[in-house]
């Protein structure tokens, strides 16, 4: 196992244990900047960790980034690991990013669905959902991104426990979702919520469960446009952007619809690479370039959040 985050191999995929070890290394190397919070336990009892990046203050305005809510989207957890290291490298070095972290905290949840992620390594690489059992069904798991209390159970999710988009028995039934909901509610000062998925190269904002435009549509569209331009500037990777329902399809019970309805204006979902060659099986050689280009988009959104307090 890596003895430091400098020898950690960022251009390969890692197991849950290796990612959790990485988190501990990063905290140990940067005790003034990074701490590890446990926000709950998964259905199968695994700890759910969030890395907090803070330069002081108390309950500062914050930015939330999560990866891996759909466990088979391995490029997202791998990108999350790279983001974590990038934050510690750029603070104090990059002026724009230093300004962000001098005024805001960043919370990064790298493995949002630990049970599903462990299952992709042990039994089924293409597992997407949680691993919760549904009474009365032999099918397992809930789509954690259909389980939030925003249009829950409406069209755009399935009521069949065997479906990949099964919404679960009730909103927040999945402890992996409830843990984040409780954290966001307890913190109360999160200003941007960025949830990272793959694949199809999209940057999306609310809503997914209804056609009504968010009241901040123009601003969100502008921010998305700038973020996509920044992302594409590195390797020319092309993204589309827009609201979930107008850009792809109706999806109910999604995380950013709930966070936007809580008043977190800058709520976005990323769909990272690929365009249609590898799908969820993106080669490890594309981890770093994907993370690098995505970081430019994240920076754009974080800067906008910093410069437009609300």
């Amino acid at each position: 196992r890596a003895r430091s985050t400098s020898t950690f191999n960022y251009d390969t995929y890692h197991t849950l244990e290796e990612i959790y070890d990485f988190m501990d290394l990063l905290v140990a190397e940067n005790p003034q900047l990074v701490s590890k919070l446990q926000i709950g336990n998964s259905y199968e009892g695994r700890p759910i960790y969030v890395l907090k990046f803070s330069t002081g203050g108390s309950n500062r305005p914050a930015i939330w980034i999560d990866t891996g809510i759909h466990s088979r989207e391995w490029i997202t957890q791998a990108s999350g690991v790279w983001f974590a290291k990038k934050i510690t490298e750029d603070y104090g070095q990059d002026a724009a990013f230093t300004a962000i972290l001098d005024n805001m905290d960043i919370f990064l949840e790298i493995v949002t669905n630990p049970d599903g992620f462990a299952y992709t390594h042990s039994k089924n690489r293409l597992w997407r959902k949680t691993r919760s059992l549904t009474s009365g069904s032999f099918c397992v798991g809930v789509d954690a991104n259909r389980n939030w209390d925003a249009g829950f159970g409406m069209s755009g999710a399935s009521s069949s426990p065997c479906s990949e988009t099964y919404h679960g028995k009730s909103a927040n039934s999945e402890v992996e979702v409830k843990s984040v909901v409780d954290f966001v509610n307890d913190h109360g000062n999160i200003k941007a919520f960025l949830s990272i998925h793959s694949y199809s190269q999209l940057l999306l904002y609310p809503y997914g469960y209804k056609t009504e435009s968010p009241s901040d549509k123009d601003e969100l569209d502008q921010v998305a446009k700038s973020a996509v331009a920044a992302l594409s500037s590195l390797y020319g990777t092309e993204y589309k952007y827009g609201s979930i329902i107008t850009t792809i399809y109706q999806a109910s019970g999604g995380s950013i619809d709930w966070t936007y309805n809580q008043g977190i204006k800058y709520s976005f979902t990323f769909e990272l690479r690929d365009t249609g060659r590898y799908g969820f099986l993106l080669p490890a050689s594309q981890i770093i370039p994907t993370a690098q280009e995505t970081w430019l988009a994240l920076l754009t959104i974080m800067e906008h959040t910093l410069n437009n307090p609300y």
């Binding site: 042990s122 690489r125 065997c162 990949e164 099986l281 080669p283």
Partner: protein, 93 residues
Amino acid sequence: KEDFVGHQVLRISVADEAQVQTVTELEDLEHLQLDFWRGPARPGFPIDVRVPFSSIQAVKVFLEAHGIRYRIMIEDVQSLLDEEQEQMLASQS
């Protein structure tokens, strides 16, 4: 560990709403055990679906019978998974 030998991922190009609807109906045929990597959305928005070996012939015949274009995005899912595993083991060593 789940084995995906012979599974293919098809990229389906739907030309109109009727074709979107037709592919959506496929989604409900549970015996085909289709796994939509990118679900049916709208014309011009590609649909990616993993098809188990046992269902490939039926799905291709169905698409061709309905004049719905597709291409094979991944010839054999298991071979990509094997490559991924080898890469991880190589990097660990």
